[in-house]
Amino acid sequence: MNIHEYQAKDILRTNGIPVPPGEVATTPEEAVRIAESYGSMVVVKAQVHSGGRGKAGGVKLAKSTDEVRERAENILGMTISGLTVEKVLITPAEDIDTEAYVGVMIDRVSQSATFMVSSEGGIDIEEVAHTNPDAIRKLTVDPRYGLMGHQAFWLANALYDDPSLIKQAAKIIRQLYTAFSTSGASMVEINPLITTTNGEVKAIDAKMSIDDSELFRLPEIAEYRDLSAEPWAETKAREANLTYVKLDGNVGCCVNGAGLAMATMDLVKYYGGEPANFLDIGGSSNPEKVVAALEIITSDPNVDVILFNIFGGITRGDDVAKGIVEATRRIDIKPPIVIRLTGTNEKEGLKILAESGFSAFTSMDEVVERAVQLAAEV
């Protein structure tokens, strides 16, 4: 789960990291009020789950009340990466001397939290990794010990020469590790970590991703979810315990198992079609889930055919068949449905489907070919 800059900053502040104050506005008037309370130049920052906000014109300095209003008017309602800006963060502008990068994330190879720091801040760290990898210092935290004091200093030494700045940065790095490990994060980036002209180290931007598996035990973090940033279909999928990702094609897919679902999408493409979505319906044959899956898939107006690919292991074919028949009785589905059912109780399941007039296959290739054919006929 992604969270907004202002939410990530709240978490960092709670953990003692120096972050300039900031408040969120949803209207230009609010933005003006907040800016006036700071009585200084402010930055108006779009709050959306997207990178490149600055490049898109969503981060602007405002030197006067009129400018604050104007910036807020322009940025609110703007679309960045397909997301509509509904909130802006108003924060006092800082006197920036230098910009660095500090990030921590779970590294799959070392299987632990890994810090990456660089004196080249304010730009895309992936770019730095390509053009100047020596400018990045990395450290993997041993889960037995956590981040040790001398390790934080070693990282801070990569950023600054001045002892006071190093000391401040080391403290921030230790606090960042605490924030990371107590907020269920999978990644936290401070970019840029700045030094001000009067020698203070501060975090003026923060990006944080939360491990979805942590949400059940961190309800206050789960509260940060921005439902307005999420398409209806994805919210519904989450609530129904399905996984759904919308794509651009017209062949709707409903599969049990993430790997098989990806392979199904790939096979649609192989046969010349375009998948409309990824949907993992999981192991249950419960009609409620099938209804939810069909509602989600058909909420996409591009869908011209719906393809089921079910390989029953524990899940029984006749249960799945009953679920599909029941679901299609309850809601009216316009696009044709083709079904592939195999595995446990396959024969019984196929019989139930045939009796209800469904086109059912046992071969994955055959069902995908048929689906692509039907989609092309529309």
Binding site: I106, R108, D212, F216, T243, G259, A261, A263, M265, D266
Partner: protein, 298 residues
């Protein structure tokens, strides 16, 4: 010969009295796996009834279960909040292999559990995996019995039902398996492709290997390099997620393309550059294996 699980496996089921634990324990006993104990805190002293009337003793803790029954393998059917702890408890009790089925275990919990298990000398499989099956010998997990048959092919997969799709074609073509290993769909797993390959390399009965990968991470790429430098038997691969968009988690917590890293294209290329032929569709795996083994039909 098979790897990881066989006739010598003495299995302890953690979470034996839960819905999933009890269902799958019956299936495993039916398959012929030696289930010697179950662990559910608070239910120590009770018994679990197998499908043929077998009586499996239940203990409150792993250390008691191992001491009383000599269990050497455990399987974890414990909810996400407690699963990493169950893995750690198992590792500490002295078992050689811990198979963690649970999906949705917090990643930071597993970061600690994997280190702990390694320190204790226990191999972890998973989490978020369907387990492992050595056809004709033992099943530790949820892979359906009817899709496998004994034979010469080793299978290593990050997936569940996609594995079944691949394996059923092999079985139907008369090409059986030594062991099918589900390594799981999470970002931090206890046994990765190379780990599994290293063990398969020691099995004289495994004559070819099928690797089923997906987007996310660099495991397949590392495995490809290891194969060309170390393995003398043919490997055939399949990568799911050619059509996955970047930055989106595709079901499995570990199935996510980060920036430009971990794409299906990159993995396919790594396989091909290292002599691993890549099937474009699951059904093509059989033909490639027949070719590799010099069998008719290939």
């Amino acid at each position: 010969m098979a790897i990881l699980v066989d006739d010598n496996t003495r299995l302890i089921v953690q979470g034996i009295t839960g819905r999933d634990g009890s269902f799958h324990t019956r299936q495993m006993i039916e398959y012929g796996t030696k289930v010697v104990a179950g662990v559910t805190p608070g239910k120590g002293g009770q018994s679990f009834q197998g499908p043929g009337g077998e009586s499996v003793p239940i203990f409150n803790s792993m250390d008691r279960a191992v001491a009383e029954t000599g269990g050497n393998t455990s399987i974890v059917y414990v909810p996400p909040a407690f699963a990493a702890g169950a893995v750690e408890e198992a590792a500490d009790s002295g078992v050689d292999l811990v198979v963690a089925i649970t999906e949705g275990v917090p990643v930071l919990d597993m970061a600690r559990a994997h280190v702990f298990a390694r320190d204790r000398g226990a191999r972890v499989l998973g989490p978020n995996c369907p387990g492992v099956i050595s056809p004709g010998k033992a099943k530790v997990g949820i892979i359906p019995a009817q899709i496998v048959t004994p034979g010469p092919v080793g299978v290593i997969s990050r997936s569940g039902t996609l594995t079944y799709e691949a394996v059923i074609h092999l079985t139907n073509a008369g090409i059986g398996q030594t062991t099918c290993v589900g390594i799981g769909g999470d970002p931090l797993i206890g046994t990765n492709f190379v780990d599994a390959l290293v063990v398969f390399a020691t099995d004289p009965e495994t004559e070819a290997i099928v690797m089923i990968g997906e987007i996310g991470g660099t495991d397949e790429q590392e495995a490809a390099r290891w194969v060309s430098e170390n393995l003398n038997i043919p490997v055939v691969g399949f990568i799911a997620g050619q059509t996955a968009p970047p930055g989106r988690q595709m079901g499995h917590a570990g199935a996510i393309i980060s920036g430009s890293a971990g794409t299906a294209e990159e993995k396919t290329k790594a396989f091909e550059e290292n002599g691993i032929r890549v099937a474009k569709r699951p059904v093509e795996i059989v033909g490639l294996i027949q070719d590799a083994l010099g069998l008719k039909g290939g």
